[in-house]
């Protein structure tokens, strides 16, 4: 197990993440409000991110949220990847609003 630094490009924030942890777990441990811990199993898509630099290990992800095209472009689900180097990423899934604006508009069923 080694610890790497993950940097969120939009906010400039960094958080540590162990190689045996998912990037989402590391992000949740930031303790920041509004990190949507969704299904944490690659099914719901809320934790979609675009990895801009760094290398990672990935588990299988749901094709309904990550197309082959996505995967080629580094767009993955944070709950299904673990870092094998420091990473820089953008948040693009359902969590973007809460990570970037710290507010959640309540709407019933989306």
């Amino acid at each position: 197990m080694s610890a790497f630094q993950i940097r969120i490009i939009e906010t400039g924030e960094c958080f540590p993440c162990d190689s045996d942890q998912s990037v989402l777990e590391g992000m949740v441990k930031l303790g920041k409000r509004g990190i949507p811990a969704g299904c944490r199993g690659g099914a719901c898509g809320v934790c979609k991110v675009e990895v801009v630099s760094g290398s990672l290990e990935r588990k299988v992800m749901s094709r309904s949220h990550v197309s082959e095209e996505d995967e080629k472009n580094g767009r993955v689900l944070a709950c299904r990847i673990s870092p094998s180097s420091d990473l820089e990423l953008r948040v693009i899934g359902g969590m973007k609003r809460s990570v970037c604006k710290q507010e959640s508009e309540k709407s019933f069923l989306k």
Binding site: P36, A37, G38, C39, R40, G41, G42, A43, C44, V46, K59, V60, M61, S62, R63, S64, H65, C79, G94, S104, K106, F108, L109, K110
Partner: protein
Amino acid sequence: MAMTGVLRPGHAQIRVLDLEEGVRHYRDILGLVETGRDAQGRVYFKCWDERDHNSFILRQADCAGLDFFGFKVLDTATLNKLDADLQAYGVKTERIPAGDMLETGERVRFEIPSGHLIELYAEKTSVGNGCGLVNPVAWTADSERGIAPVRLDHALLYGPNVAAVQKLFTEVLGFYLVERVLTPDGAGNVAIWLSCGHKVHDIAFAEYPEPGKLHHCSFLLETWEEVLRAGDIMSVNKTPVDIGPTRHGVTRGCTIYAWDPSGNRFETFMGGYQPYPDYKEALTWTFDNFGQGLDYPQRKLHETFLTVVS
């Protein structure tokens, strides 16, 4: 009460991203009994106190979610009648031959207006619960392995056209409406809980823009202490928990919602009251009080409950 027509939830087939990871979760943590694997690679489970061969089937696929949800009906004559009734109502049905699912007879499959595949069947091999049929013992090793629910209790499915789904289930399949949440304007139902017997629900639906989504499959426990024990087992195994342990206002059941390793939500559930089909008026929750309906002590509308589905 006399049970005729549709008897109970009989099986759910779920897609998982990694089969063996799914098997470890449902067999070792939830504590289901593995009863077989078929030529397609599907893995079959039952809850320990169910007598039929299977109630929960895993299939490996590249996206998670629900393949279909099946109900057992009284007998073959009932199956044929319900098939004819569905067709007369304008629903296209398909017959799937006996043996397509292990130890399971012919199934009648149809798509409902929410985009889910529902099945009816009359025959499934009874393998018993391991306690014996003559002077049965009260429990077995399987009844204490993992969370060890007694049966597959119900499912909540998300999709469009809840009003049309309610009509189909009540007018053709013999279900009745037990509880509902009104739309914001109070004119319709945004979520419905339906029963075909006298359990507080056998299936539920909530309005959602995308068709065919799975909110959760629910597994029945017998006491609140067992629900708390389930929470301990989830924590020990780092199973991600969504909500609970807590009590629902809707159904008055006690609950934990959590996710399997592929992100399919499941529920460990106990309690609820016992409605009968002569309960003409469904209990009704106004839209602004649904938080209380979902999480009675906290009166909280959890965002994940509304938006996270597979």
